[in-house]
Amino acid sequence: MESKNNWKAWLYLAPVLILMSIFTFYPLINTFFISFLKNFDYRSGANSGFTFDNYGIVLGITEKVAGIPESKVTEFVQYALPNTFLVTFITVPISIILSLLIAIGINNVKWFKKGLQTIFFMPYVTNIIAVGMVFSVIFGDNGIFNFIFGLSGTKWVTESASWQNSMTILCLYIIWSALPYKILIFSSGLQNIDKQYYDAAKIDGSNKWKTTMKITIPLLSPQILYIMITSFIGAFKEYNAVVGLFNRNYTDSGNVHDLTTVVYYIYQQLEGNNPQMHIAAAGAVILFAIIMVFTFVQMRVSKKRVHY
């Protein structure tokens, strides 16, 4: 029976294995490979051999055109990387804490519980590009936000807005769109906590705050770890929110690329008539490495703190 199942199982898996080999496993290796190729032409596959220069160009160390110092572009180091780190370290902690509080709050109410759960989940199914455009109208120069707070004329997201202002709205938008998934995961985690623990705490006379800190949070730690890892990955890959919120034409040369993110930088290399695959590949490998390091560190640190 076992051996009979063997070849059959591989037959069932054939479609997924073929497709994933072509579109997941091969690209993974190939992108690594491309990132070390000099002057790679994706159409013909032609290149001038092995090099580390692509990483140098991305990191602003190597000149794009040898011998011309002006061709050294530091966009990645100057804007993309700091922006991405900033977005990550602002939005991930805030959205996790907020969603945890909201989930615990919803868990403690009875009336209109379903309604609240539904409302808080709504941004999850909406189009990030579309709502980003709505945010940019709300925070427009003469938008409703400026009207309410009497800030008429303050520029938040338009082309001449300051970097700080644009960044604030970007983070706000990312938090808004990141909440629903986290609230849902925490809520379903909370529902799975055995009521016995709370009854025991009640008998011991511990108050709500103590119960939350000593029972709810520890028992929710698997979900918290899961959310932390997925949120960090998600935040490092931030792209759609930037596209939706800002209508700045980054492809035009001469524009300040002050709001690009790492992924934005990668896709920028793919645009135009002469896509720079090798540069994009180097950028993607750097992103991959950052994400791996963070995921690994989080798993290591949390090993002792997560209660399964």
Partner: protein
């Protein structure tokens, strides 16, 4: 909850403090009610914050352009309400080729989702029911791919599609659609979701089917699939939503506007009015109408299938 009836009968007196249990209980109840009110207030304020962008999107698409540009009203006051609506939406629809893009999105979305479901079903069956060497290792490798940023794949996949002649200005609809669908026919997350479901189906059913002489293939489609309908509906809905919201890949591989999907078309749409000769001004109210057109179908889908969507998404975190 059951205790008060006992305590009212007991009526314990706490010595020295001149407080009986009744007044203590009453105070507790008042405090609890206040805490509840505060909790509801916070939750409702947060909920309003979540809903506000949706509200403003809809209301802005009902305003006249002049009123919206002032940005000082929460409700359309100027002009005829219904005239504004019909004017904004007819003008938007005539410029933003909405139904064509919805058609494209539905073609790509349905084909992707149906293909994805078929592949997910047979793969989940192999992982969840059949036994073979290296099963758990292979599944672990599959799961590990979920952590890898998609950009790693996008670069090579773009090259692959280009080599297959599926990218370029001269591509046909079939070529563009193929380029958009092919890389997304597999989904590790859905395989994981369905495998979990398949594994909950009792072994006895499988053995009984074997005794009846049913083949694995028959058992899968006649027993397992019907039993897993809720999960499959979830996967279907999430798949359609995913295609509707897809932006990066469709934008990258399709250059011909005729084959754009809604999200890509929305960001690239020019909704301008020639206010004076040769002066084209983007009409914000039309932009808002176009975002409503793109968002509303999703919200309707969400309201109808709320249970399936929330259950499917929520299950991801349970195992941790």
């Amino acid at each position: 909850m059951k205790n008060p009836s006992i305590s009212t009968r007991l009526n314990l007196i706490i010595p020295g403090k001149q407080k009986d249990i009744r007044s203590t209980e009453k105070r507790d109840r008042v405090l609890k009610a206040i805490a509840m009110i505060i909790l509801y207030a916070i939750l409702i304020i947060a909920a309003i914050g979540i809903l506000l962008p949706f509200y403003y999107m809809i209301i802005a698409s009902f305003m006249s352009e002049a009123e919206l540009k002032l940005g000082s009203s929460f409700w359309p006051m100027q002009g005829n309400f219904f005239e504004n609506i019909s004017y904004n939406y007819t003008e938007t629809l005539s410029r933003f080729n909405y139904f064509k893009y919805v058609g494209n999105t539905l073609i790509v979305g349905l084909l992707t989702t149906v293909g994805q479901m078929f592949i997910t079903i047979i793969s989940a069956f192999a992982f969840g029911r059949l036994k073979f060497k290296g099963r758990d290792t292979l599944f672990a490798i599959f799961l590990a791919t979920m952590m890898i940023p998609g950009e790693m794949m996008v670069i090579t996949n773009y090259t692959t599609m280009s080599n297959l002649g599926l990218i370029g200005l001269q591509t046909t609809g079939l070529q563009s659609f193929t380029a958009m669908i092919l890389p997304f026919l597999t989904s590790v997350f859905y395989i994981y979701l369905l495998r979990e479901n398949f594994r909950q189906i009792p072994n006895e059913l499988y053995l009984a089917a074997k005794v009846d002489g049913k083949s694995d293939w028959n058992y899968l489609w006649k027993v397992m699939v019907p039993l897993s309908m809720p999960t499959l509906i979830t996967i279907f809905i999430l798949g359609i939503i995913g295609s509707w919201n897809a932006y990066v890949w469709p934008k990258l591989v399709v250059s011909n506007q005729d084959y754009y999907l809604v999200s890509v078309a929305l960001r690239g749409a020019t909704l301008q009015l020639e206010e004076r000769p040769d002066t084209f001004v983007t009409q914000t109210s039309w932009v808002m109408a176009s975002t409503v057109l793109v968002t509303l179908p999703l919200l309707i889908l969400f309201i109808i299938f709320r249970k399936y969507i929330m259950r499917g998404v929520g299950r991801a975190g349970i195992k941790g």
